[in-house]
């Protein structure tokens, strides 16, 4: 349920101050008509106390029932009704307090000023209604906005998680098949590969998107991945990684490099029948951490759509979700070499 404005101390103090000032003004006004101070004070106190009750009602009604925009005329009726009630009640009470011939002048004044009192009461209650409507509408908006933001954040996180978990089933099953083959001939090698695969899988599962990792760590995971792929493809695959030592302590989102490497290997190995060397270099440039991956490919036989396959489009999407930029991943084709460049903003 929405919080009442009175529950906020700043508003409560302002309201009390405003009410006191108004009550004093009210008393002074009556006093200026030549009535004694005790009558003026009582008139002001009684009227404003009953008005206070009306304010409380307005606040509570709007707190639990906020009319739609096209039903705002309800509020007009509410204000008129409450103003009538307040004026009638305070007049009756004051007539009762000051009954008798001694106060006949005041009683006459009281009944003559009925419409004026009604008008002022209507204005005051109307003001209070408007303030409450604004308060509760804003509260509702804020709640909606918050809900929307929460939902967006959740879906963004879910998408990032999903993109990160896109481990190729091909890789997993083929690796298991390689292990199965090694068990017969080279059990030690098989065991080693199981450890490598486990370490690699653990690394892919562990990371949260917010927790950026050090380049050094990411490169270690990449080495694990490459070692597994080299066992699978034998002499056909080799990789050269050049790293600028100063980049090792720089940060990047987890599991960003592996899919790029995976794409390069897939692209390279399935597009030629020769041995394939993948080049990767990591360096710093203009405040960005830059990663460049190059793989050979055959322009004539690879279909044009292959280049924007899932591997790279998911990285592009991740970079967009993380940095709200679409220019952080670039690809280039020249001389049978496919180059992928990733820029990671720092700090």
């Amino acid at each position: 349920m929405a919080r009442s404005p009175i529950s906020v101390s700043k508003f409560r103090n302002a309201f009390i101050g405003w009410w006191v000032v108004w009550a004093i003004l009210h008393g002074l006004l009556i006093y200026s008509y030549g009535f004694p101070s005790d009558i003026s004070a009582t008139d002001s106190f009684v009227t404003n106390s009953i008005l206070l009750g009306a304010y409380w009602m307005v606040n509570n009604i709007l707190r639990f029932y906020l009319p739609n925009k096209d039903r705002y005329w309800y509020l007009l009726f509410l204000s008129i009704f409450l103003a009538l009630l307040v004026t009638a009640l305070s007049n009756a009470l004051l007539s009762f307090i000051f009954k008798g011939s001694l106060h006949s002048v005041y009683l006459l004044f009281l009944s003559n000023s009925f419409w004026l009192r009604l008008g002022i009461g209507f204005l005051l209650i109307g003001c209070m209604t408007i303030i409450c409507v604004l308060w509760y509408t804003q509260g509702e908006d804020q709640e909606n906005r918050q809900r929307k933001e929460d939902a967006q954040k959740l879906s963004k996180e879910a998408e990032l998680y999903k993109l990160r978990q896109q481990l190729q089933p091909h890789f997993l099953f083929n690796s298991l098949n390689s292990i199965s083959a090694l068990i017969g001939t080279q059990p030690e090698q098989a065991r080693k590969m199981i450890y490598q695969l486990s370490d690699f899988l653990r690394a892919t599962l562990r990371k949260e998107e917010e927790q950026w990792v050090k380049m050094e760590e990411e490169l270690q995971i990449l080495e694990l991945y490459l070692d597994i792929e080299k066992v699978r493809f034998g002499h056909r695959l080799s990789a050269i990684i050049e790293k600028d030592e100063s980049c090792l302590q720089m940060n990047l989102p987890p599991m960003l490099l592996q899919p790029v490497m995976e794409n390069a290997i897939k692209f390279g190995l399935y597009d030629t029948t020769d041995a394939v060397t993948i080049y990767m270099s990591v360096f710093k440039e203009n405040g960005y951490l830059k990663v460049v991956v190059k793989n050979p490919f055959d322009l004539e036989t690879s279909s044009p759509r292959q280049g924007t396959g899932f591997g790279l489009s998911s990285i592009k999407r991740r970079l967009y979700l993380l940095f709200a930029r679409n220019d952080l991943l670039e690809t280039e084709v020249a001389d049978h070499i496919f180059t992928t460049t990733i820029k990671i903003p720092q700090g």
Binding site: P169, H170, F173, N174, L176, N177, S178, I179, S180, A181, L182, G184, T185, V231, R232, F233, G234, R236, L269, Y270, D271, T272, T273, D298, E300, T301, S303, P304, R305, Q306
Partner: protein, 246 residues
């Protein structure tokens, strides 16, 4: 009986080799790294059986099979192929999902022996190949063989197709090739928004058309960028107009 293993991963080949030791009736005559070697080895050795991986360099297992006139019995070995698995399930030709156990392999061999005896394995393969259709990636290119040389034609490079007896002649940027398929096959695998069967014997890549001229009675001729003139029949013209949005 003779067998060949075609797989680009050495360890994947070695496990089949290992399991085959327990089936002395099968002699392993060759091992191949990719589809090109596979085509050559099949011609050379005329094996009775091939173990075939699907995801391989340059041309995949399906494409390789298309290049062989009379394919031997095939056992597919694949890690994960959502398209293939579906197709295999309805057919009797066996497939082994990597990694597979020796029990599973032996079962496959038994199945093969039964089918060899009843002579059903090859018939099944043909229906299998027809049923697999083409995965989206495979529709992007056509693999052909011309006097021993294998060519991969990206579909965008195809100008038009022409029926020629039991073959289809593919006219492309790189020249003309014959492929042992029907027009109906190409009609089902090529993108319908790009290739239109304008005539009983012709199919044209609409991105290559520069002009359509009237020609005799109710027929038309599509003039292609290459200068080729492709006949368009009355019904073909209606189809062409709807695809071109005229």
């Amino acid at each position: 009986m003779n067998a060949i293993i075609i797989d680009d991963e050495p360890l994947a080949r070695s496990i089949i080799r290992e399991y085959l030791q327990f089936h002395p009736q099968i002699q392993l005559v060759a091992e191949c790294n990719d589809g090109f070697e596979g085509v050559k080895a099949i011609q050379q050795f005329q094996p009775d059986l091939i173990f075939l991986d699907i995801q391989m360099p340059k041309i995949n297992g399906f494409e390789m099979l298309e290049l062989i006139e009379l394919p031997p019995a095939v056992i597919f070995t694949t890690a994960f192929d959502e398209y293939a698995i579906k197709a295999f399930e309805s057919h009797a030709v066996d497939y082994l999902l990597k990694p597979f156990s020796r029990e599973r392999f032996d079962k496959s061999m038994n199945k093969l022996m039964q089918q060899e005896n009843s002579g059903t394995s090859k018939a099944n393969l043909n229906s299998l190949l027809n049923a697999t259709g083409r995965t989206p990636a495979e529709q992007q290119r056509v693999v052909v063989r011309l006097s021993g040389k294998i060519s991969i034609i990206p579909v965008n490079d195809i100008h038009y197709l022409e029926a020629a007896d039991d073959y289809v002649k593919i006219h492309s940027k790189a020249g003309s090739f014959l492929k042992n398929k029907t027009m109906g096959h190409f009609e089902s695998v090529l993108d319908k928004d790009q290739f239109v069967r304008t005539h009983r014997s012709y199919m044209v890549n609409i991105t290559e058309i520069t002009r359509i001229d009237p020609y005799e009675k109710e027929n038309h001729l599509a003039i292609l960028r290459s200068g080729a003139r492709v006949p368009v029949s009355k019904t073909g013209y209606v189809k062409l107009k709807s695809v071109l949005g005229l």
